[in-house]
């Protein structure tokens, strides 16, 4: 792995190659494509949170002039068997039922039918003409309701998985998970101090500004082309093929630019509907979601109910910890309780622990991945408990964490020993940061918390082409959500030894480049970067061979230095170095075009730890919480593009703070979301936040050629507990439910005052 001091371009912050098109409005996003003859699709959605579909009659809709096609559950095949997708995917049969209801609707907004018509207005008219007869069933809307033995069941054939014996009755609890080490009872017995807490976090949405959108076009051979905004066009193609029982070779997915995803665009919703509508109508069909549909009928993340207990000795050494965690799955199994359970104690060296987690169905949309899925919820509970522990012990919250911090060689709660990690480095950096050493503003509260995410590698492909003038084209398959083209160009420029400005990046569609897993999982700079570097190394090997042939030397006598082929030291040859441009100009004579390639399943993704802290003020009269300052410190392994790494840390902090202070799904007793719009689902705006200070720690990941660790997901984890702990510090009251919105703050103040009277 390369040493930092040698880098020419890595670690700088150049303008991204797709930047000019994005600031001028030229870049094309999911809804920006218009094709000749295109018609418009719209979805009919369930008005009930839980009901059986008795009958659907689409005949009146089909008769409306200007309506080209109508589809509903009976137009879909059952779907291939098996599982697909990450957190948010799951069983193909469930995915198929989620994109279009079959015999039951399981949440308000669940797709029941779809039409394609000449204009959006005619499409809306057609939706109104579809007759659906429902048998309304009682909705199950909370974890408490869902987990009761007498609860109404969303799926009468679902039996809880992973219990020692298969249960005799079906349940809304789809699966359980347990992690354990040592003996928690003995561990708690050894503790001098024990803290306990019960925390509730609401369902929340990724909140990307671009609604889902796609255009599908099918020809008479049954081959479909789909243009869509997606985090992973190859995975979308695979999911669509499985749901529609199609040959992947008959599906071409072209990724548009994407206006945010955060995990929510790793799952299909409109795409199979648009394909079927375009097949039936024999026209290109555009489908876009309204903002309301995005909230009601895509994939928010789980609300949770978590009980936690932590014990420690007087000197701060933790002796035991236990957690009971219920996660909302929504309409179908697949809550991220696994990653939640594996991450909750990851920062700590615990001799004894026990985690029990539950994947629970409720009549809400099927949850999908949201930036470090499962971890913000679980780690919030632990970080609040550690804060309480620090208070009881009279210890500084960072010192308490340093005393128990996991490090290289510590056994992670999910089994393996950690390779080199940056938690201690982040804690030490936080301790000496000027924002921490300075006192808090008068009346303000300060909160500290740790964040973590595993990060993944998975599959990526890349090609590198050298143009005849020595400029470079990189082709890869990862939609650019946050500046990844720039990072690929930086890594290619560094590896080849050419200026950054000489490198261009292209995101290939499913027919133009090799398979790549999603842009997500904090994997793109790591895994796709690795493929790009390998493809460049392939180019270098070819260039050395071409130079050797040109000079009459053996390949082993040629080296690559600063973008040039040169004779190796000690080789006596009176030749000038050959640049990439020189070799490319002569390529026809030395073997043909220069094309490098690599494909891999990247292993060795390094976990990324963070430490965040902030000063918050609480207005006791209005209940409003102001973020006065916020500092995010995170281990990036190696920051390829410094400004975009900072951007991930700042953006994740804003999402975490939004979830902590204001965001929540509010349901009425019928299971209808009351705040399905940006007015009342209140994400942070510019006036809500201060500047977000960042410090990038670099504990290089030995498995990546440049030491990269993924950074995208970890940033959302710590801010939730930073807010909870800061409000606790400011008010003197621990509030156990998020968000810490004004009504909740005022109710807590009132309750405390009533209690004191």
């Amino acid at each position: 792995m390369a040493e930092a001091v040698d880098f020419k371009v890595i670690g700088t912050s150049p303008v991204r190659p797709d930047g000019v098109d994005k600031v001028t409005g030229r870049a094309q996003y999911g809804a920006d494509l218009n094709l000749p003859g295109m018609i418009y699709g719209r979805v009919l959605r369930s008005p009930h949170a839980h009901a059986r579909i008795k009958r659907i009659d689409t005949s009146r809709a089909e008769a409306i002039p200007g309506v080209y096609a109508v589809i509903c559950g009976r137009d879909f095949p059952r779907g291939q068997s098996g599982e697909i997708g990450g957190e948010g995917g799951g069983d193909v049969a469930d995915l198929a039922k989620n994109v279009m209801a079959r015999d039951k609707v399981l949440y308000h907004g669940h797709a029941v039918a779809a039409v394609a018509a000449r204009s959006p207005r005619i499409a809306e008219e057609a939706l109104a003409a579809i007759e659906v007869e429902y048998e309304v069933l009682p909705p199950v809307l909370t974890l408490e309701q869902a987990m009761r033995p007498d609860a109404p069941l969303l799926d009468e054939h679902l039996y809880t998985k992973n219990l020692p014996e298969k249960p005799d009755k079906p349940s809304n609890i789809a699966a359980v998970m347990q992690l354990a080490r040592g003996n928690v009872d003995e561990g708690f017995a050894q503790a001098d101090v024990i803290v306990e807490g019960e925390y509730k976090i609401p369902m929340a949405h990724q909140g990307y500004i671009e609604p889902h959108a796609c255009v599908a076009n099918t020809n008479e051979a049954g081959q479909s082309t789909v243009w869509c905004c997606t985090q992973g066009h190859f995975e979308f193609r695979a999911m669509t093929a499985k749901v529609l029982e199609m040959n992947v070779a008959d599906l071409k997915f072209i990724p548009s630019e994407i206006g945010g995803g955060f995990g929510g665009k790793t799952v299909i919703y409109l795409e199979p509907l648009a394909v079927l509508l375009s097949r039936k109508s024999r026209r290109p069909v555009k489908m876009t979601m309204s903002r309301e549909e995005v909230f009601r009928a895509t994939g928010p993340t789980s609300g949770t109910w978590i009980k936690i207990k932590v014990g420690a000795k007087k000197d701060g050494t933790m002796t035991a910890a236990s957690a009971w965690m219920a996660y909302e799955a929504g309409a179908f199994p697949g809550a991220p309780m696994g990653p939640g359970a594996m991450s909750i104690f990851a920062p700590y060296n615990l001799p004894n622990f026990k985690v029990e987690a539950f994947d629970v169905l409720v009549n809400k949309p099927k949850v999908a991945a949201y930036r470090a899925p499962g971890a913000p919820q679980s780690m919030h509970a632990m970080e609040c408990a550690v804060d309480e522990l620090a208070r009881k012990l009279g210890m500084d919250p960072i010192d308490l964490r340093l005393k128990n911090a996991a490090d290289e060689g510590t056994q992670a709660p999910y089994g393996p020993k950690f390779p080199p990690i940056g938690l201690k480095a982040c804690l030490e950096a936080a301790k000496r940061h000027p924002n921490y050493t300075r006192p808090k503003p008068p009346g303000a509260g300060r909160g500290v918390a740790v964040g973590f995410w595993f990060n993944v590698g998975m599959q990526s492909s890349a090609e590198v082409h050298i143009n005849e003038n020595g400029t470079v084209t990189v082709v890869e398959g990862n939609p650019d959500i946050g500046g990844s083209r720039a990072s690929m160009c930086l890594m290619a420029a560094e590896t080849l030894g050419v200026p950054y400005q000489n490198v261009r990046a292209l995101i290939g569609d499913t027919e133009s480049t090799g398979f790549s897993n999603v842009t997500g999982g904090s994997r793109t700079t790591f895994a796709t970067g690795m493929a790009v570097v390998k493809a460049c190394e392939d180019i270098i090997a070819q260039c050395k061979a071409r130079a050797a042939a040109t000079w009459g030397l053996d390949e082993s006598q040629v080296e690559w230095q600063d973008g040039h082929a040169v004779p190796a030291p000690g080789v006596n040859a009176d030749v000038k170095p050959l640049s990439l441009a020189d070799i490319a100009a002569n390529a026809a004579r030395t073997g043909g075009p220069l094309l490098g390639r690599a494909s891999l399943n990247a292993q060795g993704a390094g976990a990324s730890f963070s430490v965040n802290f902030g000063d918050f003020a609480v207005d006791r009269d209005t209940g409003k919480v102001d973020v006065l300052s916020f500092t995010a410190i995170q281990d990036a392994g190696r920051a390829i593009h410094k400004a975009y790494v900072e951007g991930q840390m700042q953006g994740g902090a804003a999402q975490g703070l939004g979830w902590a202070l204001n965001e929540e799904y509010i349901y009425d007793e019928n299971g209808v979301m009351q705040n399905a719009g940006f007015l009342d689902y209140r994400i942070p705006v510019a006036s809500d936040l201060p500047m977000i200070d960042t410090e990038i720690i670099e504990v290089p990941n030995p498995s990546h050629p440049y030491g990269v660790r993924g950074v995208g997901e970890t940033p959302i984890v710590a801010p939730l507990a930073v807010a909870s702990n800061a409000v606790r510090d400011a008010l003197g009251i621990r509030i156990n439910e998020l968000p810490l919105s004004p009504p909740r703050i005022l109710a807590a103040i009132e309750a405390a005052e009533a209690g004191a009277r």
Partner: protein
């Protein structure tokens, strides 16, 4: 339904179109006129992604009827750069990495221009409150504010 014939000016060019009475300016810009630089994030005036200027006034085009553009001067993100190149606001957004996914960027460029045209030297609080109607989910706003501050300096002291 009888369509209305509207004549307007978009980015300094005379443009005319047919529209239904209830169509919004946003819909006509994107679907009828093919100018997709202006984005739809919510269609209810809450996110600012559809921001345009009408006679130099900052509005959400999803809250303006297309017919209201009759005889007005509309400025969209496609009209911000000039023959000389990018507007300083656009240039500073790029230099400061003030965009990640970029979908809120057209609206923010328009909103920032409306601010700096009125107030050439805004402080941080003024910028934050002026831009509070433009939602960004990716950046946390830090680099956006810095880009606008830097653009203000450049506009005040052109090189």
């Amino acid at each position: 339904m009888t369509k209305l014939h509207v004549t307007t000016s978009i980015n300094g060019e005379e443009v005319d179109f047919l529209c239904e009475p209830q169509q919004t300016l946003l819909e006509v810009l994107r679907e009828t006129l093919g100018r997709t630089g202006t984005k739809e994030g919510c269609a209810t005036g809450d996110c600012g992604a559809c921001s345009v200027l009408i006679n130099d006034r900052l509005v959400c085009s999803c809250l303006v009827l297309a017919a209201e553009a009759q005889g007005q001067q509309v400025t969209t993100v496609e009209g911000i750069a000039s023959e000389e190149g990018l507007h300083p606001i656009q240039q500073k957004f790029l230099e400061h990495a003030a965009l990640q996914c970029g979908v809120c960027t057209p609206g923010l460029v328009i909103a920032a221009k409306a601010l700096l045209d009125r107030d050439p030297d805004p402080d941080e609080t003024t910028i934050r409150y002026w831009l509070a109607g433009n939602l960004c989910r990716c950046t946390g706003y830090d680099k956006i504010i810095r880009a606008v501050q830097d653009a203000a300096k450049t506009l005040a002291h052109p090189a």
